[in-house]
Structure formats: C-alpha cells, structure tokens
Symmetry: C2
Subunit: 200 residues, 2 copies
Amino acid sequence: MVGMQQDGAARGPGRPREERVTGAVLTAVVDLVTEQGIGAVTMDAVASRAGVSKPAMYRRWPTKQDLIIAAAESRLGVLSVPDLGDFRAELRLVLTARLEAYRLPGSDRLIAGLIGAAAETGAGRGQYAEYTERITSETRRILERGMARGDVDPDTDVRAATTLVAAPLLFRLIGEQETPDARFVETLVELVARAVGPTG
Amino acid sequence: MVGMQQDGAARGPGRPREERVTGAVLTAVVDLVTEQGIGAVTMDAVASRAGVSKPAMYRRWPTKQDLIIAAAESRLGVLSVPDLGDFRAELRLVLTARLEAYRLPGSDRLIAGLIGAAAETGAGRGQYAEYTERITSETRRILERGMARGDVDPDTDVRAATTLVAAPLLFRLIGEQETPDARFVETLVELVARAVGPTG
C-alpha cells in the first residue's frame, strides 16, 4: 500500500538463514490453520511441514502460543502511517491495511484460533494482550497526531478511541462471521472521525 | 437492571421439568468452562455434572456447538430496552447490561472458547453468526428509534453502527484481555452518540 509499511515476522534478526527458517515456519502455521484449523498446529506438524528441526523452532518460539502469535503478527503486524495532514486519511490507511489482512484466506481461523487458545492457556494471556497492544500502537499515534494537529478533539480518551477503531473489523470477521469490505471501512472512517472530531 | 429485561436460556419451552434440565445443563457448561476451559466441555462431562441423561441433552442440543451457544446466550441474551426518550440513555442500558455479563467469572473464557470453536467447525459458523445477530438486535432497534425521534442521524448505517456498539466491550475483554469497566462504558456512550448523532 502506498505510503504505509507493515512490519511483520519478515523482520527477523537479520541473518538470512534465520529469516528463511522464520518464513518457512510461519507460512507452515498459517497453511495448517487455513486448511485444517488451529487444532492441527502442533510443534511436530509445523516442523515437518516447514522442513526445519524442532530444536530450531523451540529456540525461537518456546511454546505453541508463541508460534501462533508470531504467525498472526506476520499478517497483522505493526503499522507505520506517515503524517498525511488529515486524520481521516490516516485512519483510512490503518483500516484498509487491516481489511487487506483480514481478507486473506485463513485469517479468520487464525485469529479466532488465537483468541480461543489464549483463553485456554494462562501463560498465553499476557502475550496476546501485548500483541494487541503492539498492533494497535499506530492508531494511538494517529489519534495523538490528530489532537496536536486539531482534527481530533484534544479531550479524546485515546485508549478508548483506539479500541473503537480496532474492534469493529474484527467483530465483523469473527462475531458476524463475514469478511469485511471496503464499504464498511469507509463507513467506519466516517463514524470514528465524527466520534473523535473537534466539537463545536 | 431497572427498565430492562434480558431473555436468555431461562425462557424454556414452558414445562417446569424441561426448564430444570436446561438450567442444570447450561450452569454445568458455564462452570466447566470457568474452571477448566472450553476443552473440558464434552457431552459426557456436562451430563455427568448436570445430573441429566445424555439423550435428554441431545434432544435439545444436538451438538457441542449448540450447547456452548446456549450457555453463552444464558449470559448474553436478547435485550429489551424501553423507549427512554433519549438515545444515549438507551445505549447506556445496552452497554451496561453487556458490561455486567462480561464481568461475570468465566465470561471471557466462555466467549473466547465459543469464537475458537466456531472457527473450527464448519457447521457452527452459521449458528454463531445467527446468535450474534440475535443479541445485537436491540441495538439496531434503539438506533432506529433514535432516527425516528431525531437524536440519531437519519442517514446512519444501522448495521455498521450496531457493530460499532457491540465490538469495543468484547475487544477489551478478549483482545486486550482486560475486564471492561463502567468508565469505559461511559466513554463509549459519548463516542458512539457523537458518531451517530444528528449533523449540523
């Protein structure tokens, strides 16, 4: 997408071999989830499909939960939106990037599986919340930039508004079980911009 | 809650014995999920804990997915909000009722488990979307009443606005893994009311 970068799992530690391992493993996780569901994701199945050794996997992802979060982050990663001089335009970029990720085959199962798995494992809960915090960080940034610029109400509760931005596309996908579309994004841009816009 | 009713699984077919079975079974499902997670919910475990026969269960809930949705609906059911003459007041009732349900022990695991399970079973997907449709119906109704009354913009996309209302509390609970509070509800009431309020 023009003017925006999405940092995901492709950003490895910089060593080409490690990057190849990371790419193969995360692709294997996404493929397994897409084809068979989250229940098919075991360390054995992923290692076998990716053609890597289990020790190599355990070094980077000690638990299955780490692996699933890394796979999700390879699709829904941290965004970087430049200053476009307009909150609506920046919000549209954020939501469009998420829309594109949600529309990829298997994203619904991957995210729903991550949510289900996070609720089951005590250890995974904090990690998943931290992941959510990371991937919503750019929304906080565009809200703060809008407050400084003047096209976002300076009294806006940034955390609540960030949740208001992040939640609807996800809810449409996994609660209403429908792939969101560009029209829904446009409507959300309008609704959110009015919700946080300057008053008076 | 004053002035509002929540219809859940307590609304049985009217026969007292059936209602007792329903209550015992859905309580057993919620207790199992709260204590051990969704993985512990099997027809055997629920029948044993509820003290009912498996045939009696299968007659009402042919699949595990039916059972989990019914348990979720016993906590998060269809709301009924009277005309209060004010959209904000009605929206506050809806969100407060959801807040109360989300704050009950085990609600996070129950809902996350439902989402995870729905993604795994082809058959459950439609049922879960229908459940979402049912429990968001009252939000559509208060939006339409506000449009007729004049405190909601008549051009509002009711379906998109309904998703905007339903999504943030759920996202706070299962995405940010934090129990929502009354302050967040108040902030959402303000944000949503501005998003859909009359323009000009």
